[in-house]
């Protein structure tokens, strides 16, 4: 394959822009296309190898999964809304959080978006549980 064709394919697959920008006055179309790349579409992007861990599911991970499924059964959201909400976290959060931490974060965000809970209710509940756990230790 010709080098130019190869580079064109790679550019098409790996358009993520990883430089931190500071609200520039203008950007080229190519950069706009790269910036609105949907985050979960990572197939083909260059990356460093990651060690594979034979790690079992932890309680909080299964609880997260079940909570999210129950919210689906009750019609609060669906899996595609969850994936979109994960992408909408932005690159820093999306790649910074463990898999199920992304799930539970966007479950909470979606419930807030839909007016089913409020951010202060959620914050108070987190504080309450944290205090309970600290008292136990």
């Amino acid at each position: 394959m010709q080098y130019a064709t190869l580079m064109e394919r790679v550019r098409h697959l790996a358009p993520e822009e990883r430089n931190v920008l500071d609200s520039p006055y203008q950007i080229p179309n190519e950069l706009y296309a790269a910036l609105r790349s949907v985050l979960h579409d990572v197939g083909g992007q260059p990356d460093a190898p990651t060690p594979y861990l034979e790690k079992g599911e932890e309680d909080w991970e299964m609880n997260t999964y079940l909570t999210c499924e129950c919210l689906g059964w009750r019609g609060a959201w669906n899996s595609e809304m969850r994936r979109r909400a994960e992408n909408d976290l932005g690159a820093t959060m999306y790649f910074g959080l463990p898999y199920y931490a992304r799930w539970i974060t966007v479950a909470a965000k979606t419930l807030v978006d839909k007016g089913l809970i409020t951010t202060d209710e959620l914050g108070q509940k987190i504080d309450e549980i944290r205090a309970r756990l600290e008292a136990r230790d």
Partner: protein, 96 residues
């Protein structure tokens, strides 16, 4: 299921359409040609499902398309018979 436009064995090419905000159609599949190997039940397309349109969203047949890995990746070093399968709603496919 509504009559699917494509049959098992049909060669199809994935459209390379501008995407805003959300998609399930991978960049590596766009513009690539593969073969329909399976029908999937009609369902709300992800572009609508992702925006909470379960009731009003557009429903379409889905297809499993099998690509040769050599078609997808430049300089693929594995076996030439290696394949990859992915799923697309009907609007993303055109006859090859």
């Amino acid at each position: 299921m509504a009559n699917p436009r494509f049959s098992i064995g049909d060669e199809v090419t994935v459209r390379d359409e501008t995407t805003l905000f959300h998609t399930r159609t991978q960049k590596f599949a766009r513009g690539r040609t593969g073969v329909v190997v399976e029908h999937r039940p009609e369902w709300v397309i992800p572009e609508d499902e992702a925006f909470d349109r379960m009731e009003t969203g557009r429903k379409e047949p889905f297809y499993v398309v099998r690509f040769k890995q050599t078609e997808l990746w430049p300089g693929y070093t594995g076996q030439s018979i290696d394949t990859l399968e992915s799923e697309f709603s009907e609007r993303w496919l055109v006859p090859a």
